[in-house]
Symmetry: C2
Subunit: 223 residues, 2 copies
Amino acid sequence: MPIEATLQPTRESALVDQNGRVLGPRALNTRRRLLDSTSQLLRSSGFRELSVVDVAKSAGTSPATFYQYFRDINDAIYELAREAMASHEPTIEIIDQTWVGEAGLVTARKIIEAFVDLWERYGHVLRARDQLAAEGHERFVALRFDALRPILFHLSDQITGAQESRDVPAEIHPITAAAAMTAILERLVGAYPYLEQLGATRDHLVETCSLILYRTVTGRNAS
Amino acid sequence: MPIEATLQPTRESALVDQNGRVLGPRALNTRRRLLDSTSQLLRSSGFRELSVVDVAKSAGTSPATFYQYFRDINDAIYELAREAMASHEPTIEIIDQTWVGEAGLVTARKIIEAFVDLWERYGHVLRARDQLAAEGHERFVALRFDALRPILFHLSDQITGAQESRDVPAEIHPITAAAAMTAILERLVGAYPYLEQLGATRDHLVETCSLILYRTVTGRNAS
DNA sequence: TGTACATCAGTGAACGCGCGTTCACTGATGTAC
DNA sequence: TGTACATCAGTGAACGCGCGTTCACTGATGTAC
C-alpha cells in the first residue's frame, strides 16, 4: 500500500537537455521562455490547440530548439505542473499547525486561501495535468498523486484522531473524507468564476469552505 | 441574477442534419453510430487525440458523412454530454425527498450513488465537457451549468432552511456550500480509481460522502 | 405487380494546410596561451 | 591584449504525414400510378 514518491529531486543546477548536456545560463533562459510560452498559450488557447510550433514561435525561437529541451509538448506541461506543485509546498506545512478550537479554523482558512491562490495562478496548468492523468498518462497520474499525498495523509490523520475522541463518527473513512476535502479545494476553487454569477464572493468561498473543512476534520462546529 | 436555461428541448423526432433536413430512420442510425464511436474513442484514446477521421472510420462510414450530422468534433461531444445529462435527470428528483432524520441520510446516499453511477458511465464525456467549459467554450459552460443548477439550488434551499433553525451556522454561504458538495460529487467520484489504491472501496466512498453531504445540508450529525 | 421517378443517405477522392520532427549547418560564447 | 580553438546554443529548411473539409457523384429507399 505505501506508494513511493515518483518525483526525483530536481535541482535547477542539474538541468540537462535531451542529449544529457548540462544547460548553461543562455540555454536556461531559452528553456524558461519556452515554458513561459507554453503556460501562456495553454491559458489563452486551450489544451487541445497547444502545439510545439506555436510555443516555439511565441517564445521567439524555433521548433528545433524546443526539441532540444523537451521530448514533446506534454513534457513541457509536465515541467510546468512540477513548478506549480513546488510553489505549493509551503501549504503542506500549514496543515501541521493546530486544529484545536478557534486556531483550527484559522488553519483551515489558510489552507483554503493557499488553494485559491494556487488555482488562480496555475489553474490552466493543473487542469491540463488532471486531464492527462485522467487519460491514464502515468507520469501525470504520479505527479498529481505526489501533489496530493501529503495533504491527504495529514488530513486523514487528523480525522482519525478526531474519531478516537468520538468527535467524528466511525463510519467516516478518513482517507476518503480527506480526499473529499481536496476535491472541494481543487474543483470548486477551479470553477470559482461561475460561482460569482450566483452571488458568491471570494470571501464566501474561503469562509464556507473553511467551515466545511474544519468541521470535517475535527468533527466540531466552529465555536 | 437568474440565469436562464440554455438547453432548448430537443425531441428525438426533431433531429435535423446540417442542412436542416429531418433525419429518417437510416440517418438516425448512422448518427447514433457516429456518436457511439466518438464516445468510445474519447474513452480509449483521450480528448486530445480525438479526430473526425478516426470517428468516421470507427463508425464504419466516411468523414463526409460525419459532417452531415455535426459541425465539428466538439459538436458531437456536446451531443454526448447532453445525453449524459438527460440520463441524470432522475437524480434531481431524489433531492426533493426528505432530509429529516434517518431518511435524510438515505436521500444523501441515493444522490451519491447516482453520481457514482453517472461518472462511471459518462466520466470520459463529462471530463471533456468540463475541459471545454474551463477553456471558455460558451455552449459547454452553459451545458455544465444547466446540469448543475437544479441540484445546486435544491441543496442551497435545504441549507438555507437549516440555517433558519440554527442547525447550520450563519457564516455558511448556502450556494457555495452546495457547490462544494457538487465538487465532491463530480471530482472525487471522477478520480475514484486512485482512491482504491489507498484502501477505499466504493462503499467507503458512498458512505463517507453521504455523511458529509448529510451533515453539510442539515447541519446535524447522522444519529 | 411493375415501372418510373423523387427523395434520402452516403461516399470517393481530392485539396490544402499545418503539424511534428530532424539534420546539417551557423552563430555565440568561453578559454588557453 | 589578441588570436585560435573548443564548446555551447540555436536554426533554416525540408520531409512526410494525417487531418479537416468539401463537392460532385453514386447508391438506397420510398411512392405514385
